[in-house]
Amino acid sequence: MDLQFTAEEDAFRYELRAWLGTAIASMPVQPQRDDWTARRRYDAAWQRMLFDAGYAGINWPREFGGRGATPTEHLIFLEETERARAPYVGQNFVGLLHAGPTLIAEATPDQKAFHLPGILTGEHIWCQGFSEPSAGSDLASLSCRAMRDGDDYVINGQKIWTSFGHTADYCEMLVRTDSDVPKHRGISWLIVPMGLPGMDVRPLRTMEGSTEFCEVFFDEVRVPVANRVGAENDGWRVTMVTLSFERGTAFISEMLQSMELARDLAELAKRITRNGATAWDDAGLRRDIGRICAELDALWALTKRNVSQAQRTGVVGPGGNVFKLAYAELRQRLGDLAMHLLDRASLSVDDIGDLPSGEHVHGRIHALSLGIAAGTSQVQRNIIAERILGLPKDR
């Protein structure tokens, strides 16, 4: 075992760092949190800059337009972009992290040739239409129906929690193509252009009051059979490819951001005074911050183990579930600590003067979703207990 980077990896890092220094300076100011159209433009502009500099699809194979970086280089990329406070992957998330990799693994040459460039350049935004009102943790029970009619599928049903559904161009969608077989065996994976006749996209308000995700209703929506990826009724297997990508790298950037936030909290505590002493004079608070920083550092080390494993075996192992569960819980504790430190200032979702309430309160609320999105913490525990420890299922 060795945590030191090779000379090539270091070279990759320094070249990237130099580029980031100039690239970020040329980005426009960040749009408002709830202006999704402006955010789309912003995210796309950043993706285009990455593309032009050869950093788009960092871990995608070269033959499909990616950089073909190793998992370690990918890790360095995430670390450096976070360090430089570069824009996030934002609305390119689904395209770059789910749909793109799935297309690379499973799509036809024509599908790849058409869709991959749009994702890499930021021209096309994708959303994920998996969950349904009755199919969340039990995703395989989904019932949104696609019936064959000549060269088309005709879709009827509903999706929910479709993040970026209102700004996306394409949806990676799971539909039921056979209801007479066990639930996992009657699902297909479709590329669905957004805005087709019969589709109704309704923004769904989150607890932050924002419209980050949508409900999407389908009434006799026609999609060419040619838009199916993988064989008919083989969509569950196709999906599993996608989901393992999600757990692998999706949370690394934000965990790095949490590491900074936790350190910022120490600085904030030194500035906040109460009863004549600073908050930092409180040994209990110092211990809490110390413990959280230590645990975040350990999760960063775990990430390196996960990446190394992926580098050797090509798949994200059980460490992905362990990371997701541990991070979701830790991020909530970090948020709680920040709220307690800000005390009355935490009652505002915007900054108050030079007190960073906005960042910490939004972060705290976001943390509540981490135990739910992409597999709830209870489901993660089931997976860890059953798939890793080999305990019997109770379902």
Binding site: S134, D336, L342, S346, L347, S348, L368, S369, N382
Partner: protein, 320 residues
């Protein structure tokens, strides 16, 4: 000793609960949010009519009052409930018109890193509680900035840049007693939050199905909810003990510690129950529509009032 509700206490609590269910159901709470959350004066007077502000002035004790406030917390009633109740006084009113609901009275304790006042735009009078005394201030004379996006949409807040001195109503002793009573009543509101979120989570766990069964059948979900109930019941005991102590029917425990314990337990439990309620609801819990988030936000607000749980845990330790 009989540390269980008697018939009168039970019927008082039931009365407040059914009043709130009729007059301020969750549909009204949500509608209120959309119209800016200014305190509704008709509702305020109706609350006064059932005695919410004048219970102790009318001869009831802290015990009955805490039971009423538990229901207010459960119903997510908004407005400066504790402040107006304190202003109505016990033997004599601190602020005239607080008890009958004709005047809406708020309260602020200057604090660090910022001083924040809830519901400032709706207030007729403001009590400023400082270590050395209690002062009455005209809310219109406070120099402040309203916050554009308060965490709890039902609790508008303003950040104070300058607070006039105002007219002194009493000294350090009054200040200490208002703080102590305020802590207990706030704990009662927090207990109400715990109990409401347990009901919400339970209803959802019975009705929501995944993998062909109600999610309440999964042990993981049962355990989350059993933890909520355990915390809520321990909290209930602490809050009731504090109220009973203030009525002079306590045991030989130190009253100040009993009151602190209530605020520590209630602060932590309300936050725990509300966030667990969100978790039990899965993705639905993260939506605006589902009330779980409203309770979580209210739990955040209540924790900061009259000192948060960290503050009182430290004070408890300091007194050991």
């Amino acid at each position: 000793m009989d540390f269980e509700l008697d018939d009168d206490e039970r019927s008082l609590q039931d009365g407040i609960r059914s009043f709130l269910a009729g007059r301020y159901p969750m549909t009204a709470v949500r509608a209120h949010e959309e119209t800016g959350a200014a305190v509704d004066r008709d509702l305020w007077r109706a609350l006064a009519d059932v005695g919410v502000f004048s219970l102790r002035a009318d001869g009831f004790g802290m015990t009955e009052t805490a039971l009423a406030f538990e229901e207010l917390g459960r119903a997510l009633a908004n407005g400066p409930l504790v402040a107006s109740h304190l202003a109505a006084g016990t033997t004599s009113a601190l602020v005239g018109g607080a008890g009958d609901g004709t005047r809406i009275v708020g309260l602020v304790e200057p604090s660090e890193p910022v001083t924040v006042i809830e519901h400032l735009a709706s207030l007729d009078d403001l009590l400023v509680v400082r270590d050395d005394g209690v002062f009455l201030v005209d809310p219109g004379s406070v120099v402040s900035t309203p916050v554009a996006h308060p965490l709890d949409a039902l609790t508008p807040i303003s950040v104070v840049s300058s607070l006039p001195t105002g007219e002194q109503l009493g000294g350090a002793e009054l200040s200490a007693s208002l703080r102590r009573d305020g802590m207990v009543l706030t704990s009662a509101l927090q207990l109400g939050v715990c109990l409401a979120t347990i009901d919400l989570a339970r209803d959802y766990a019975l009705q929501r199905e995944q993998f062909g069964r109600p999610i309440g059948q999964f042990q993981a979900v049962k355990h989350m909810m059993a933890d909520m109930l355990t915390k809520a019941e321990v909290t209930r005991a602490a809050v009731y003990a504090a109220a009973v102590h203030l009525d002079g029917r306590g045991d030989d425990a130190d009253v100040a510690q009993v009151v602190r314990a209530a605020k520590v337990l209630a602060g932590d439990s309300a936050l725990f129950c509300a966030k667990t309620c969100i978790q039990v609801h899965g993705g639905m819990g993260f939506t605006w529509e589902v009330d779980a988030q409203r309770y979580w936000k209210r739990a955040c607000v209540l924790d900061t009032q009259f000192g948060n749980s960290d503050h009182h845990a430290a004070a408890f330790a300091a007194a050991l």
